[in-house]
C-alpha cells in the first residue's frame, strides 16, 4: 500500500498531469499528420534537437522555482562555448577545456547572484545586464568569429553515439534524472521551493537565503555552460553568437512544464516534458514542411494556454 502510494507520488507530486497529456496528444496528432514522425530515428532526432535548450531549461527551473529569474543563460552559453574553444585551441587538453567552459558558466552565474543579493536590484535587471555583458565578452574574446576545429573528444559529445543514441541525448536524460532528484528529494530542493514560495517564511525558518540564491544562480550558469558545450560540439564550432533567444525558450519550456514563474513550484521532469512539447511541435511542423514562422506562433500560443490552464485548475481546487 505504501509502495503503491509512493509510486503515484513520484509521478504525481508537482508534475502536472496536464503537461504529460498535452505531450502525448501532440505526439498523436503529429503521428497522424507528419510523415515519418513515429520512426525511431525521428524520435531520437526530437530528443537531440531538444537537448541543448532542455539542459538550459533545467538550470532555469531551479532559479524560477526559487523565486528568481535568469535571462542571461543564452549569453552564458556562448561565452562558455567560446572559452572552451579558446582553451582547446591554445593546446590545453580537452578535459581542461571542458572544465574551463563550465567554470566560466559557474563564475558568471555566481556574479549574477552576488549582484542580486548585495545590490537589491531585481533579478530581471541584473540578469538582463549579464545577458549583454556575457554576449559582449563572448564577442570580445573570440574577436567576433567562430572558433572551428574542436578536438575529436569534444565533438563526440555533440555528434557521437553510445548504444545508437546520440551523446547529447544521454546528457540531457542524465541531467533530467539528477535534476529531478535534486529538486524533489533533497533538502536543497525543499528549501529552493520554500524560498520561491515565501522568502520571509524561509528566512524565519532559518534558511540561509543569500547562500541559497548563490547556489541557484551558479547552478543555472553551469547548466547554461553545459548547454553551450553541447551546442558547440553539435555544430562543430564555438560561436560567440550562439544561444541568442535561447533564454526565452528555456523559460518557456520550464513554464509549460509546470514551473511557477513566480516561484514555489517546479519539477525537472515537468521541464523535460515542456521542452519535449516544444521539440515535438517544431519537429512535427518541420516534417509537415510548415513555414518556421508558424512554429513560433504555435509555441507562443501553447505557452499562454499552458499557464492559463494552470490558473483555471488551481481556481477550481481552492
Amino acid at each position: 500500500m505504501a509502495a503503491a502510494s509512493r509510486r503515484l507520488r513520484l509521478v504525481g507530486t508537482g508534475i502536472r498531469r496536464e503537461s504529460l497529456l498535452v505531450l502525448l496528444l501532440l505526439a498523436a496528432v503529429m503521428a497522424i499528420f507528419a510523415p515519418n514522425f513515429l520512426s525511431l530515428g525521428n524520435l531520437i532526432n526530437v530528443l537531440l534537437a531538444t537537448a541543448v535548450i532542455g539542459v538550459l531549461a533545467i538550470g532555469v527551473t531551479f532559479v524560477l522555482a526559487g523565486g528568481g529569474l535568469d535571462l542571461s543563460v543564452g549569453s552564458i552559453m556562448a561565452v562558455a562555448g567560446v572559452a572552451m574553444g579558446l582553451a582547446s585551441q591554445s593546446g590545453l587538453p580537452w578535459p581542461v577545456a571542458l572544465s574551463t567552459g563550465l567554470a566560466v558558466g559557474a563564475f558568471l552565474g555566481w556574479c549574477n547572484a552576488v549582484f542580486i543579493v548585495r545590490s537589491g536590484v531585481p533579478p530581471f535587471i541584473v540578469t538582463l545586464g549579464m545577458l549583454s555583458v556575457a554576449r559582449g565578452l563572448a564577442l570580445l574574446i573570440s574577436d567576433g568569429r567562430p572558433i572551428y576545429g574542436l578536438p575529436q573528444e569534444i565533438v563526440f559529445l555533440g555528434q557521437g553515439r553510445v548504444l545508437g543514441i546520440p551523446a547529447p541525448v544521454w546528457i540531457f536524460l542524465l541531467t533530467t534524472i539528477l535534476g529531478q532528484f535534486l529538486i524533489s528529494r533533497t533538502r536543497f530542493g525543499y528549501h529552493t521551493l520554500a524560498l520561491g514560495d515565501n522568502e520571509t517564511a524561509a528566512r524565519v525558518a532559518g534558511i540561509a537565503i543569500e547562500a541559497m540564491k548563490a547556489r541557484l544562480y551558479t547552478l543555472s550558469g553551469v547548466m547554461a555552460a553545459l548547454g553551450g558545450l553541447l551546442f558547440a560540439a553539435r555544430v562543430n564550432a564555438a560561436d560567440p553568437t550562439a544561444g541568442i533567444g535561447y533564454e526565452l525558450l528555456a523559460i518557456t519550456a520550464a513554464v509549460i512544464g509546470g514551473t511557477n514563474l513566480f516561484g514555489g513550484r517546479g519539477t525537472v521532469v515537468g521541464t523535460f516534458i515542456g521542452a519535449l512539447i516544444m521539440g515535438v511541435l517544431q519537429n512535427g511542423l518541420n516534417l509537415m514542411a510548415v513555414q518556421p514562422f508558424y512554429q513560433q506562433i504555435a509555441i507562443g500560443v501553447i505557452l499562454v494556454l499552458a499557464v492559463w490552464l494552470d490558473r483555471v485548475q488551481s481556481r477550481e481546487r481552492t
Binding site: 501532440l26 510523415p35 532526432n45 562543430n236 560561436d239 518541420n286 510548415v290 518556421p292
Partner: protein, 321 residues
Amino acid sequence: MRTFLAITVLIALFTAGLATAQGRTVGVVLKTLANPFWGAMREGIEEGGKSVGLTLIIQAVPSEQDVEPQLNTCLNLLQRNVNALVVAAINATNLLPCIREANRRNIPVVDLDANLDPAILQREGLRVVFSISSDNRRAGGQAAEYLVQKKGNNFRGKVLIIEGLAGNPTSAARRDGFRERLAQLAPQASIVASLPGDWDRLKAANITNDVLQRHPDLSAIYAANDTMALGAVEAVFAAGKGGQVVVIGTDGNADAVRSIRAGRLTASVAQLPYLVGFQAIENLAKVLQGQTVPSRIIVPTLVIDREILEQGRDPLLRYLR
C-alpha cells in the same frame, strides 16, 4: 480540460500541411526567407523544380542566427528519405553532421551559394557534388570594369571603397576583386580609403561624408552591397555632388533598381539569386540522371545602370528579381 484538449487539436490541425513524397524528392535548406535575396533564390528553385520534374521540400529558418535549428531541419529532411539535399549553410561548419549523414546514405549534397569551405570538407572527409554561386570576386571586378568604361582608360581619379562587415569573406572577395581589376585597367586611379560599413546604410553615409570632407574631388565610390551604396548616395547628394561622384553598389535589389531609374545610384552589380536557384536544380537533375557536372558552377552577375535598364535588351535582365 476538454476545452483545452480541443484547442490543442485545433492548433495542430490549423498548422497542418501535408507534403507528399512521391517520385524524386529533393530537400532544400535555405537560410532565412526574411531576406529578399533568399526569396528570389527560392523562386528560382521552385521554377527549376517544375522545369525538371523534381518534387521539392523547401525549408528555411527564422533568422541567420538560427544555427542549431538549421541543423535540426537538415536532419529532419533526411528523415523524410529525400533523394538529394541542397543546403545553403549559415556558416561553414554547422551542417557538417547532416552532410556526413547524407554522405553515409549516398544522398548527393549541393552547396548552394558556396557557404561551405572546401578545405574543411576535405579535412572532415565529406563530399558535395557541386557548389554553385555567383562569384563575388568577379562581381567586384565587374564594378571596376564599369567604372573604367564610364571614366575612360586614363582614369586617374580618387575612389572610395566601402566594405561590408569586417572579416566577412563575401565582403573581402568583392573588395579584392574590385581593387585588382581597377589596378589592372586604370593603374593611375587611387583608392583613397577602404573602410568597413558593416552592411549598414547610415554607417556608409557617415563614411562618405568624412571622406568627401578630406577629398572634395572624389570621383567614385564602390560599395560591397546596395544598402551601403544607397547610404553613400544620400551623402553625395546632400553634399551637392550628385553629378560628380559615380556610386556603384552590389546586389541589384529592388531598392537599388528604383534608385538607378531615378537617376541617383549610378549602377549596381546585380547578383541573380533566381538564376542561382534555378541552375542549382537544373544541374542537380543532371547529376541524378547520372551525368557529370563541374564541381564549381559560377552564375554570372550583371552590371545594371539606367541605360541598361531602360533599353531592357540584356537577356539576363529577366532574372532580376
